[in-house]
């Protein structure tokens, strides 16, 4: 079973990325069920946008995509 190399830091980085580009809003209790669902939903949105396999979980490919050089404008239409 391929062991994912995703670390706690990666989780933090991913959360920041989703907040910045996919309008992930802060959950009062980030560890709550609702917070996890929200993160998973935004991960799926990002994976769909970039043509990745839509898993809703933070895997190596998704993390690699998040680290590519890019424009700082949001991908979801919150830029307005």
């Amino acid at each position: 079973v391929p062991v994912s190399k995703v670390t706690v830091q990666d989780e933090g980085f991913a959360k920041g990325y989703l907040k910045r580009f996919f309008n992930l809003t802060e959950e009062k209790d980030p560890l709550s069920r609702k917070g996890a669902d929200r993160m998973s939903k935004k991960l799926s949105e990002m994976q769909k946008f970039f043509g990745l396999r839509i898993t809703g979980t933070l895997d190596d490919n998704t993390l690699e995509m998040m680290k590519k050089p890019r424009c700082g404008v949001a991908d979801e239409n919150i830029a307005r």
Binding site: F50, G51, G72, N77
Partner: protein, 387 residues
Amino acid sequence: YSTFGDGLKWSKNTVTYSRIVDYTPDLSQAEVDDSIRRALEVWAKVTPLTFTKLTSGTADIMISFARLSHGDNYPFDGPDGTLAHAFAPSPDIGGDAHFDDDETFTFRSSTGYVLFLVAAHEFGHSLGLSHSEDRSALMYPLYSYKDPDTFVLPQDDVRGIQSLYGSNPSGDTTTTTTGSSPSGDTTTTTTQAPTIPDVCSSPVEFDAVTTLKGEMFFFKDSYLWHSSSQSSTPQKSLISSFWPNAPTSVDAAYENPGTGNVLLFKGNQYWQFRGKTVLPDYPKRLSDFGFPSSVPKVDAAVHVSSISRTLLFVNNKYWSYNEGWRRMDRGYPKFIHRHLPGIGHRVDAAFENRGQLYFSSGSRQTEYHYQRRRALHTLMNYLWLGC
């Protein structure tokens, strides 16, 4: 493509942009200014928009280089990651473009981020486009290197920006610089699309020549002469007015009479057009055509109808391409001077007219009988241009 919606676009066609106050140390000021100007020209070319540079005062698009937290709610993040951002059209910060000065920006090298490419993307936002899901689009959020000298705005971006502003009615692109000079008077310099010199006043060298359904196109820099049955003298215009997705200038061109398509070559890429429309998946690399990867560019190309072969010239050699089998013939390349005696060692442009071949080199060309491998006449290029 996608737009910011809610009518977030400029309600005028003259958009102003600022001179840059704090330049990045990665490039000379001239390189930065040229990158910015060409990045705006990408959008001016396909819309009615014109861009005026203000050397003082507040412009619609204020351009700056900054690091980390820089006064808006979107701090940069050090090297790599976020390269730049821009704001949708609106007053104040709207339209402004900020570039992360912790990045290594380059003029054209792929060993950093080409400022022209990053700026052209950000100005798409400044004009009202948000990100595209099309990986080949300029407005795709991830950076990918492209040769700035052969850059052509992808169709997805053209459709996106024209959904906001319409197309360019004239084909000209103008960026002007207006503002007060030290003496206080206003200086206005306007750079129009290249004015086309009077061709008969001096010898002319062709970059490429092609036929197309009985008409002829003579390419030089970013423009061409087009001779058709409607006019006794060839008409001058920009390449982009015939083939909007073509590179600014071309190295070689030919018509495949079997398909009626035109192929244009520039650098190590080539485009195939049916009418004005570029075919899907183009541009392609020369290696896809069948050239070895060592070939940097094609100098000339001509389809020889009597043998159904296309001859393609690279430095002092040439290849023969079988259009039917869609592959290069065996035994090539061959030396030009040995197998096509009488046309010299190199060719700038080549075409066929009424069964004869014409090989142009410098301002002259040789009329050539292919079957007899004999040069018939030498003539000046500009004779084809009504001179």
